[in-house]
Symmetry: D3
Subunit: 260 residues, 6 copies
């Protein structure tokens, strides 16, 4: 059973972060820290498919679910990722119901969808019965679409009818861009749009996620709007922040010494 | 001119951190943060030689000096690293004057030392005159030895006579181990040993470094003893710390929501 | 002269297997074993382009032809693969005659097709005359399309008119999916479809291939239908099978010892 | 300020070469040699995204601008490359004004274009203000389109109206193919087409580039037509040429010895 | 608790195989197959340290213990491997009691041994208390020495006194070489030597392992001598064997067809 | 039969160059150019063992012998390289007869030497009989020692008695360093030393090689001294040279245009 899917079904509040870099220890670190899931990003990153597999093994070694954002919304990328058996898959920048359906279909074997046959890690490389995987287990995958454009919200009622979608994840930055307010994510126009969309989703009993920065204020802001699943920050900005803090401590101490 | 060497000669207080992981952006991040130098570690890490080269390019792209701790105290490892032209090299676990001399000799071309000929990046892959590099520029390298064993302190007077050594870097953990106090770095036996060694080095006008964790307390503790160059923490523990802090913020917020 | 193309033209029965993993020794192993050709897969795998080049070098070092299944049916992927000079290229999931033509055109320089100029390994990195490659040698490539959908069989008469196609390779699993029988490849509906398609192809004197599992029964089943070129199994399932057999031997022996 | 953009604006004559291979020292070598810019190719090569990042760091470490030709003309590839902050981006095989606009739009944040949010190296991994990058700095990128098809020249008047395009780069080989003269780049039909296009571009005050081989004759030929920015040759053919010359020297000397 | 160590202490019969190649799925495959442990080899292989880390994550993701044979019997290689927290470590080619002690000491922190401080994965990258790891958990590692030389057997009484050694693993090939019978592992001289050594070890209650090929006969042969832990075959020979079997099936079938 | 060994035995004049970089196409390029052998360097480079295997496959794919200079003169490095089956192995910096014997012994199975058992590519991964490899084929390897120190020349009479050594390769730069003349390789002291050593070797009928730069003058200089096998230049300096020449051509042409 897919534990992440169970928790989503129960509507639990979940906390995650993004692995953007490629070192094979990153998912182990995030798993050890205790995140409820790890978001492995291929959209903005230089991570290769092999590195994603290493990340998935590392995440599983800590018992932490891992979800992968595909590098592109197409059949090939989706196929490669699904053969690696992540706990979930994320499609960025979805705009219409047709597009959502086409993407979700890529994750489903016929007759439900259009996924091609070729599971590897997903059937334990031979441990599991392939037919059972095709018929049953492959349905266990968590399927996420990202709401990053006002068009998507305009079609949200229709998109949300697709019962294979496990969660809807807001990307506030691109959403703000789509209404000509790029980057002004905390201003009224973007926030109102998010609120409106959350209302639509909640009315249908849907699970709502959001990806954002990791300041306490940012986390609080979005959490207060009723978001269930918050992915806050990425490895590289965690690194930048703590390194900055450490350098400040070092400089303060050095300056104190210099004054003495 | 090697800027790091100049700053060490002027006795400036310097701040650095360790890059243990392999992503090619890590040295750029640390450089952007503003560290005075970056310590690229090959002793405890899985970093390959090619990844070290990428790190050196990234560090240089930000104008930040990079020093490399060799994976082993031998001629081959030293040769490979030096052909890549780091700003400095660190030899761990030095114990005797003979050993120190042998290691430093590996960084010096004959007749000064035993380094073999084969510079690549160090001569700009053909841009610079090789003879000038052999005769002059290769001397610019910063050479560090690590004091990580009580035997080293017993021989420190003699070791410190070697004028090619630019700095002496304490490794308190292994030092504590060498006196049967493994890990008790803030207890009197280890601290007294460090103090004694600092006194010896300062009396000779030597430059003193130390590698430690990155808590404010730890930094203050060693800085107060008069250490000039502190390398505090590594990428993986910066990551672990900030990720932990972010997860705590997420959980607190989620719990608050749950209570409402 | 492309030896594989010659053998296909002569209608020889050929045996191959799939390299899905990335180790640079895999194609050498398969070549040493004696396969008539090696199928390097990029469709379901995490293999990078650089690893494909290593595979192609390894295959050639054993004198074994190598054919590459592209990661996606587009111009870019095709271009990158063709610059590496495989013995053949495979396009998965072809459905219509237009699609087949568009894909085959990507492998042909104008005026025959749409391939862009930029050969590297394909002209020996400078050893061969580029104009001769463009005009003549580039035609030597073996071009395969995969029959994995009932739509493809519906259009097969038309598709098979394209004389640049050297072989038609059945993918029974996806074919079964396309008629709502996903995975039931040995049941009548899928088998009848394959038989019908083979009849069409043989009537036109076309060369027929198929990719399947590697059990003796499976091989016999498809061979009996008149398939010329069978690609049976992949590295990872060879590994799983033999490892399972070895573990069984070890356990049996251990248990015998335990009983004594 | 983007130095390359400045030089282009001033209409300076620029010299570059192509890095097609993956070693992290290649851009450093080309930078040390003194090229005005380095063209990192992903169109015909096996270079991975991570290797492009290493190349960009290496180029920057020598103060040399680097421009990247995307592996495909799509949003995802463009996004990944732009997050790495090259000095410029090149879109190959542009044919129509709509296509040109769509591609250039991918490099521009809304409301100007369609670029998604997710800068990493482009904001110094946290050093720079993201909003400022979105609003201002991201405009600094050099945007190039390649003229490799007669259709492009037919639409050139219209394409050249797009003021975000900094330069137009001829690809004579593919251009010759588009008029059924593949490879005959120095024959009248292709040359006349180039001349005509240069006239159109110069009349509008546009900056004209061209990519070609590196023989003196080839360079002279295109330069004489008034091309401003010539990218001549790639790492692998430089290697092939000089290795050939060295082998010839060795053989001549050996033969002389043998005759004695 | 180290499960492998527990099973060894209980004298259980254990079955394993060697991972020599580098694909990140290999340990997952062997774990799924059900081996009691996986032997990751660095002695004869091209596997890098980073790939070992990936292997360890993959093994752990299946709950299978992994033991690593070091690339060289020195402090540096040992240190790097131990920071990655394998379940066990194997030292090849041990010959004398002093050498055995020196090697085992490298795995023990002072005052027990000479291991330097720098755990990464071994303390969960920050999850676990480092002092507790140094004092207690680090003792959990399984330590193996290989008996591959007659000198080792001559000193076996003494070597076996070292209580930190968890198991002794015969390497029959090199053992046969050490008595001038290279490769004749099933002939009397080598077999008698192994028997004699097993008798010494069993008399002291020691755990006995052996590494060999994976034919049923070979496994039976060594098992009958009372070996507890048999490591039979490696990934590359599993691949070679099954590929050979599959090719034979293909050829037989093709020939049958040809005869018809 | 090892073709390189045959040519050396016949005293043929041979021409080679060094591959120092890691791209998998480099050995194919050098093989296509037509060198008699390729020298793959691990002494001064960042090349990994896996990359060496890729190089060896690429070299073999062109039918060109490849010899590998080990990263260190020790048993482990030698073992790893030999398992990959190069055509030859080079030991740098040999100084005494004992050292030469110890190194050559590492390449020979007992009772001749000390090589451990574990061939992989060297037995075709299972294609060849391992016993035959141990007894016969493994002797086919070409074994080279480098003369890079005056001590080596002092012991040359004795070293040259070792009949397993196929060739002696001068490294003039380090040789000049060993007599306090670092880099002055064309001055009398170094040249006289080389001449003297060549006389010793030729008197014994030994095969003489030398590694040097690739200018015509340099090649002529050493060739005139009677050297049989000249390795002239490396990939990175070929690149630097031709890139410099191309940039000069570009600048000249641009300047001419500017003057018009």
């Amino acid at each position: 059973m897919n534990e992440l899917k169970e928790r989503i079904k129960r509507g639990e509040k979940l906390s995650g972060a993004i692995v953007s870099l490629t070192d094979p220890c990153l998912c182990e670190i995030f798993g050890n820290v205790g995140f409820d899931y790890i978001w492995i990003d291929m959209e903005h990153t230089y991570t290769s498919y092999k590195e994603v597999l290493c990340h998935l093994n590392a995440a599983r070694s800590t018992g932490t679910p891992a979800i992968v954002r595909v590098p592109q919304n197409d059949l090939t990328a989706t196929k490669k990722i699904l053969e690696m058996d992540p706990d979930g898959i994320i499609f960025p920048m979805v705009r219409t119901a047709d597009e959502a359906k086409e993407l979700i279909d890529m994750t489903l074997y016929p007759p439900r969808g259009t996924r091609g046959f070729g599971p590897m890690r997903a059937i334990g490389y031979g441990r599991d019965d392939a037919q059972e995987y095709v018929d049953i287990t492959s349905l266990e995958l968590c399927r996420f679409v990202q709401i990053e454009h006002m068009d998507c919200i305009a079609s949200l009622d229709e998109i949300a009818e697709n019962d294979y979608i496990d969660g809807f994840i807001f990307g506030p930055n691109d959403l703000s861009g789509s209404i000509g307010e790029m980057g002004h994510v905390f201003d009224a126009p973007t926030v109102e749009l998010v609120k409106k969309a959350i209302a639509i989703l909640k009315a249908k009993g849907k699970y709502v996620g959001l990806v954002c920065g990791n300041s306490s204020e940012t986390i609080k802001f979005w959490s207060d709007l009723g978001v269930d699943m918050i992915t806050a920050g990425a490895d590289w900005n965690f690194l930048y922040e703590q390194a900055t803090r450490t350098l400040r401590d070092l400089r303060e101490q050095h300056e104190k010494e210099n004054r003495q």
